[in-house]
Symmetry: C2
Subunit: 530 residues, 2 copies
């Protein structure tokens, strides 16, 4: 099934905000109901596709038939942009400037190579497309005419090696499909990002996704053992061993390349046994600093839970107040900060880790909140994007952004980003609610994930832009990385160039020129075009 | 102090082989005593250095004085080649074709940049030099005249962050110096390769070293959080967070670049607390397959010892027989395979892991051999290269090579390499003893480390070459990587190019052209020059 074209997920799962919440948004943040309803897909009128008939014929030949080259309005609209809030707002506003001219669906690695050859022959730019869940402008290249390469037909498990605990997956597999195929053999990937229900294996690799259970299973880039990359100049195959001293790690050049170097046509991943037991629970800490110190202790000295997540005071209050009363949080300012700990594995292993972690958390000043907050988190773990749709529908603005840094920089980074968002939006007349959590920890640092809710400005996309810019500047100034797991896309490109530095970017551009000399792949995504 | 110029380590530590071993080498392998003694350093006569006086002046200016630019014979000889057996044999044979024209000793990052500018201005090739322990021809570029950049003056701890558990180290620090500086703050790197006593931090990073405690502390490339790279075109600084989704991981492009992209001038590493307890012990398994299955079980399901190492039947026999009777092993063919397990950490943690690992190993058919084999291994962990010197002195040939693969390919890889070495050397009239161990394990695979001892041929370097080629071909054919932790250098370059594939190599060459347009840095090391 397809995702909602101008929102998130399965339309049947959408839920309106309770009236009380709408009232509170109004009283607390000055949110006013939207005046114009969003257009219906049936009413969308696009300019006709401009791809030459000869090019369409070449594409059809590359993918074995006309039925796999689509130029109808619905296909084109459904492949327009990703799922950032500005993306959704532009779709709702009827802005179709980033619509592809055609959608091509290859069925194999060889067909991907043939599509790239056809695109080169006809000077067509190409945007690889997995689940379409980018929130950083990764599907909006800086080229007015392009075709989208949708990998959904490449959705097979190609090989599974139970001895090495590896599997070769095609890139178009959505995460639940991949988990289903692996579960039949008793294995799991353990990759559960918020986009889990829609995003694909190829997208996870291309954008360095990280899931909610990263403390236990690692990030997606840590799960990848080998890759096949189809480029206009040929094929790169990497990964003959878990680790090697044979030169630079080429896997790490493909991971995070966001479709700018080529199309990932297979991904060999590390497998873990399906857990016997899954157990999630809550802990309360007096402050975000106290909670963060406890996270750090577990990340550095163990034991490591599978899921480890800490909300700041504001996010804890809002979470407590949901779904029926955001304002009620005000009376509960002693709520402190909520931590979720999760354990997955054999019954013996989860019991052992849980017992030892509980001792550490208690020693760090935590108080057990029992299983209920953990179970509530697990039930709602994929629902935040639906909530965003409801907030947008109610006239509010809601967006997220994230970063990571070494531990000693986390407090300063937290303050800097929070202040930048709050000040910019307050100055613009829409004081926001800024919430934050840590959801990915490492021995040497952690991520920070911010959620911003405010009233929409007159032009909500333009209204948000200065706040996003201020947050990005704050990230760089405070020593963070411009993205811990969303990627670069076009939205973060200018800051990415500053973070990586001109010489490194120039070296990556040299790689791109070698693999994609006509600069057809995702122009302007990740790397600047000039 | 300096290493022995035509052998390994501190000459005071050298020990001759017992007479009985010499006799056994003769009876078992047909080893004949060498006829000509190795030349003394004082007798070496080199052709005069050809670097133009203006270039020498520019280099002296770059490093703040004449005393840091050396053209004397001893300095040049001590920077000739690395420590592979062919390297040592060539030195002993008085072959100085790979001698540098001068040795330059920069004292800082800025001085490294100044040296690179001077080299560019005077068209001088440059070989970065850490501990000089390369065993893959990493110090023998394909250029007749070059200068060596010795980083020994850059041996400071620049920063230590106990909260993030990170430290910034200069590249010329030898591992024991680095461990000493970190130990003063209660930390360790945990990187203990066989080259530990001599090799440097910069070299570990440039060549993707892996230490004997990699099961617990990880490989060196896994310890690196940030790097500074000085290139002829400027500086690359990478690593603002433990992990990031901001594009390809540039650290992983610098790691393994073997001096071909630039000179690593600082390395930010992950720290671990100094262990309270260190405990090593032995286990016996009926066969290499049984032992490997037990290793895999620990690597995949835990608990993970800090050191994990398994010798095959031949290495076990030889190890048992040392130092007094290699032949005695023949009567002890029931010795099976020896595994060493080591635990480092807090007293509680080592006790806990040891108890659980013992249960797993017993379940897998292992029999405890008590602490003695572990302690013996720990005592001798850095002594094998000394033993090689004694073997060479006695007229034997001894060399090592290593690879890695996914678990399901390990048995076939083991057989293929063993057969290639045995058959080639037997056909050449010098039947070898081929020993192997697994000393680095991962969830999805492991390394194989081979040691070969045989009689020397007439021209021992030329005699060995076909066996080395046969082993490398066997590695590629059986699905292994051409190096797990020694690197590529010039010795493995042709196989590395085949392993990585022409397009990937071409992309790396594009990176090199961008960073080193005159191809001054380590020409022919890692990447082919044409």
């Amino acid at each position: 099934m397809d995702m909602l074209w101008n929102g998130w997920g399965d339309p049947a799962e959408a839920a309106p905000l309770p009236g009380a919440v709408t009232a509170l948004l109004r009283d607390l943040l000055g949110v006013r109901p939207r005046t114009a309803p969003a257009p219906a897909l049936a009413d969308v009128r696009l300019p006709a596709a401009t791809v030459a008939p000869a090019a369409l014929r070449a594409l059809a030949e590359a993918v074995g038939g006309d039925e796999h080259v689509r130029t109808d309005t619905e296909s084109r609209v459904r492949h327009t942009r990703g799922k950032s809030t500005p993306d959704l707002l532009r779709m709702r506003a009827g802005d179709f400037t980033d619509v592809p001219q055609a959608v091509v669906l290859p069925g194999s690695h060889d067909e991907v190579l043939a599509v790239l050859r056809a695109c080169a022959a006809h000077s067509l730019s190409v945007v690889p497309f997995g689940g379409g869940t980018s929130v950083v402008g990764g599907l909006a290249p800086q080229r007015s005419a392009f075709v989208t390469l949708d990998l959904r037909r490449m959705n097979r498990l190609l090989d599974l090696d139970p001895v090495s605990r590896t599997a070769v997956l095609q890139p178009g597999l959505r995460a639940p499909e991949a988990e289903g195929l692996l579960a039949a053999h008793g294995f799991t990937l353990g990759h559960f990002p918020q986009s889990f229900e829609w995003a694909t294996i190829g997208g996870f690799a291309a954008a360095r996704s990280s899931g909610q259970a990263s403390a236990g299973y690692g990030r997606f880039d840590e799960m990848v053992l080998a890759l096949t990359l189809a480029t206009p100049e040929g094929v790169i195959e990497t990964g003959r061993a878990p680790r090697s001293a044979a030169g630079p790690d080429l896997r790490q050049l493909v991971l995070g390349s966001e479709g700018a170097f080529g199309v990932i046509t297979s991904v060999t991943v590390r497998l873990r046994p399906l857990p016997e037991t899954r157990l999630y629970e809550g802990w309360r800490f007096r402050s975000f600093d106290d909670g963060a110190a406890a996270l750090r202790r577990l990340a550095q000295d163990g034991p490591r839970p599978t899921v480890l997540r800490l909300s700041d005071e504001t996010e804890t209050l809002i979470g407590l107040a949901q779904p029926d009363a955001i304002g009620a949080g005000r009376e509960r300012s002693d709520a402190g900060c909520l931590m979720i700990t999760g354990y997955e594995g054999t019954a013996q292993d989860t019991a052992r880790r849980r017992e030892r972690a509980a001792a550490v958390l208690t020693e760090c000043g935590g108080a057990s909140a029992g299983p209920e907050p953990g179970e509530q988190w697990a039930r709602g773990r994929y629902s935040a994007p639906y909530l965003r749709d409801a907030l947008l529908e109610a006239g509010a603005f809601a967006e997220t952004l994230e970063t990571a840094a070494f531990w000693s920089r986390i407090p300063g980074l937290y303050r800097a980003v929070r202040t930048a968002l709050t000040d910019t939006l307050t100055d613009a007349g829409t004081p926001p609610l800024v919430m934050c959590h840590i959801s990915h920890v490492y021995e040497n640092g952690a991520s920070l994930y911010f959620t911003v809710v405010s009233a929409q400005g007159e032009d909500p996309v333009a209204h948000w832009a200065p706040a996003k810019r201020a947050a990005a500047e704050a990230v760089l100034a405070a020593g963070g990385t411009i993205s811990h797991h969303h990627g670069v896309g076009t939205d973060h490109r200018d800051w990415y160039v500053r973070e990586a530095g001109p010489l490194a970017v120039s070296a990556l551009r040299a790689v791109k020129r070698r693999l994609d000399p006509d600069w057809l792949l995702n122009p302007g995504v990740l790397l600047p075009t000039d």
